[in-house]
């Protein structure tokens, strides 16, 4: 009579994930159940199709960008560790204070890392810059067919003009952070996980 959900997940793996991401034991087991229920092919990894089967994600205008965030460069499958690492960005920040031993490196759910996640939504080619083209493409994803090319172009131009401080017509991560410095990232980019 073992726990079916965690027979495939060893205790050492749970400990590793706990250290790396900061999730609690029960949260990791619950998320593993979710991972296996999404994994229709039952091969221990998720593909892009597995994510697109979630209707609420499929109708999200930035759904494809979010799915992309789970997959490392050039790969088509994500395993449970990678899944948890990406989800860890959305842990609430105040949970870190509860840990007795803060991790040596910056935790995945720090403010900077959360903003980096948001930055990568726009940065399509992962070159650490948001160019005008990339911004236009993401804008087009968000508005669909409801706004004309010209209007969208002027929106993109205005956004870059306001954010760009060093004049290279691209938005770097530092400039992005400056634009969002007053946003309550802690609340807006955190998911309240139940224990």
């Amino acid at each position: 009579m073992g726990s079916r959900a965690s027979t495939l997940l060893r205790e050492e793996e749970i400990e590793e994930i706990k250290k790396e991401t900061g999730f609690s034991h029960s949260q990791i087991t619950r998320l593993y159940s979710r991972f296996t229920s999404l994994d229709k092919g039952e091969n221990g990894t998720l593909s892009r199709e597995d994510f697109q089967r979630i209707p609420e994600l499929a109708i999200n205008p930035l759904g494809d960008r979010i799915i992309n965030a789970f997959f490392p460069e050039g790969e088509d499958q994500v395993n449970f560790k990678g899944f948890m690492r990406t989800l860890a960005h959305f842990r609430p920040i105040e949970d870190n204070e509860k840990n007795k031993n803060p991790p040596a490196t910056e935790p995945l759910n720090s403010r900077t890392n959360k903003l980096l996640f948001a930055f990568r939504l726009y940065d399509l080619d992962r070159d650490d810059k948001i160019s005008r083209d990339e911004l236009l493409q993401v804008l087009r994803m968000m508005v669909g067919v409801n706004i004309s090319d010209d209007q969208l172009g002027s929106i993109a131009d205005r956004t870059i003009q306001e954010a760009d401080t060093n004049g290279d017509t691209c938005i770097s991560f530092q400039e992005f952070m400056k634009v969002l410095e007053k946003v309550d990232v802690e609340q807006k980019m955190s998911i309240r996980f139940l224990h």
């Binding site: 948001a118 968000m142 508005v143 634009v179 946003v183 807006k188 309240r192």
Partner: protein, 453 residues
């Protein structure tokens, strides 16, 4: 050799007399001997004891994960407009235009749906709050005590070696008598006696089948039972829904003609009473379907039609979108809510995981099937309401009565992708925000919003 035949013959005679006297005769008159009721009461006592033991065991081992039947995450937040406004608080002068922080809203919504969404969980069995001593529901539970294991072992023995053969024999008896009985009744000329006899045959055989599943059915509000010439709609969890409803009344079934055993059953059933079976090619043509059903309903003397508007089996925690086709036929709609008690056996048919035979075997090796059926007052389409709105109205009435979640999502999402039009709706909503359609928000300042929170 002769001894063997003699023994087989005696067993058969014994079996037949048990069935006829203890099961068929009570079934004909709609009575019950009370055996199943006692069984259920004993089961409830055992399961409550098991629950207490498990809870005690969990308290003694605090490090082990506690199984949750609540959600994984807590979703907060308002509509798209409210959230966007809060995100833009840092730059009030940009209200009505695009802001880089807008992506954060979609990002969070997307991640929330990856962790837990409203739809995909409806197509698999729901987790139980506490283990009910069936191996198949043992997901987050683990070894507690020797006594519990012994009871579980006994349970396995009872279910597989005692109940299962009995139930299989009973179910096959019920189905074969249904075929024979309806065939025989079919030879009679059209008359009220034929109808009465056909109803009797149907009811008796369905009741025998229900006994074959150890089904205990509680009917509520029998005064609202569907009348002739009406349409009965119910939420769909399993093919057994048909048996459950047919235990208390006769319905005209609607469905596709199948081959094989099921086809024989369908052909003989339609000889004694007018069910509506469609060929596969006819089902695709909505007009043909609607016309035949309308014809059936218009003849006020025919039995009420039984339709499941969800179109697919859902796991009995929610009611999904009702297809409006059934509500365009006209006539009075009699809604029925069906709710299964999951402690005694999970009735949901996960058709992608189990085929019909393995599903029936699982049903027959559960403890029992306990189900509540509520007949709801009849409803008709009102002026100025179209079929889709009427369908939604009926759906929320059923969901409310059965304690189920009322979802607008289509049950067809089990197999198909979501329609693009839903994504386009989201894009349109967002476009309205950045083109500055909602001027009301612009008047509220940031500090006021902060004080409200």
């Amino acid at each position: 050799m002769e001894n063997l035949w003699y023994v087989a013959g005696t067993i058969f005679q014994l079996w037949m007399s048990v069935v006829v006297f203890f099961i068929m005769l009570p079934a004909m008159f709609g009575l019950s001997l009370g055996v199943t009721e006692v069984y259920i009461q004993v089961l409830v006592k055992i399961l409550e004891w098991a629950t207490l033991r498990i809870q005690r065991g969990q308290q003694e081992q605090p490090s082990a994960p506690i199984p949750l039947h609540t959600g994984i995450i807590e979703r907060v937040g308002g509509s798209m407009e409210e959230e966007m406004w809060q995100l833009r608080c840092s730059r009030p002068e940009a209200a009505g235009a695009f802001c880089l922080s807008d992506g954060v809203y979609f990002c969070k919504k997307g991640l929330e749906s990856i962790v837990e969404d409203q739809v995909t969980q409806r197509f698999s069995s729901e987790e139980l709050a506490s283990w009910n001593l069936l191996t198949r529901t043992n997901q987050n539970f683990y070894y507690i005590s020797l006594r519990l294991t012994i009871i579980w072992g006994l349970g396995v023995f009872v279910r597989y070696c005692v109940l299962l053969p009995f139930r299989i024999a009973l179910a096959s008896t019920g189905i074969s008598w249904l075929v024979i009985g309806t065939c025989v009744v079919g030879f009679l000329p059209e008359s009220s006696a034929k109808n009465w006899l056909s109803e009797l045959v149907h009811l008796t055989c369905y009741r025998i089948c229900a006994r074959g599943l150890s089904a205990t059915i509680h009917y509520h509000n029998k005064e609202n039972r569907p009348q002739k010439g009406g349409i009965c709609v119910a939420n769909h969890t399993t093919p057994i829904d048909v048996v459950i409803l047919a235990n208390d009344g006769c319905y005209a079934m609607v469905g596709q003609t199948h081959g094989g055993l099921l086809g024989i059953l369908q052909k003989s059933m339609v000889r004694s009473c007018p069910h509506v079976w469609f060929e596969r090619s006819e089902m695709k043509d909505r007009n043909t379907v609607t016309r035949r059903l309308r014809h059936h309903v218009a003849a006020k003397t025919k039995l009420p039609i039984l339709i499941f508007p969800e179109g697919t089996c859902v796991n009995n925690t929610s009611v999904m979108m009702f297809k409006k086709g059934s509500f365009e036929i006209g006539g009075t709609i009699y809604p029925v809510a069906i709710k299964y008690d999951r402690r005694f056996g999970d009735a949901f048919w996960n058709s992608s995981k189990y085929n019909m035979v393995s599903y029936l075997l699982r049903m027959m090796t559960s403890w029992a099937i306990v189900v509540n059926v509520w007949y709801l007052p009849p409803m008709t389409i009102q002026d100025g309401e179209d079929a889709a709105q009427f369908a939604n109205r009926v759906k929320s009435v059923i969901a409310h009565q059965g304690g189920l979640l009322d979802l607008a999502w289509d049950g067809g999402l089990k197999r198909c992708k979501v329609k693009d039009s839903l994504k386009e709706e989201q894009q349109k909503m967002y476009s309205n925000i950045i083109v500055g359609q909602n001027h009301i928000r612009n008047t509220k300042t940031c500090s006021e919003t902060r004080e409200d929170q």
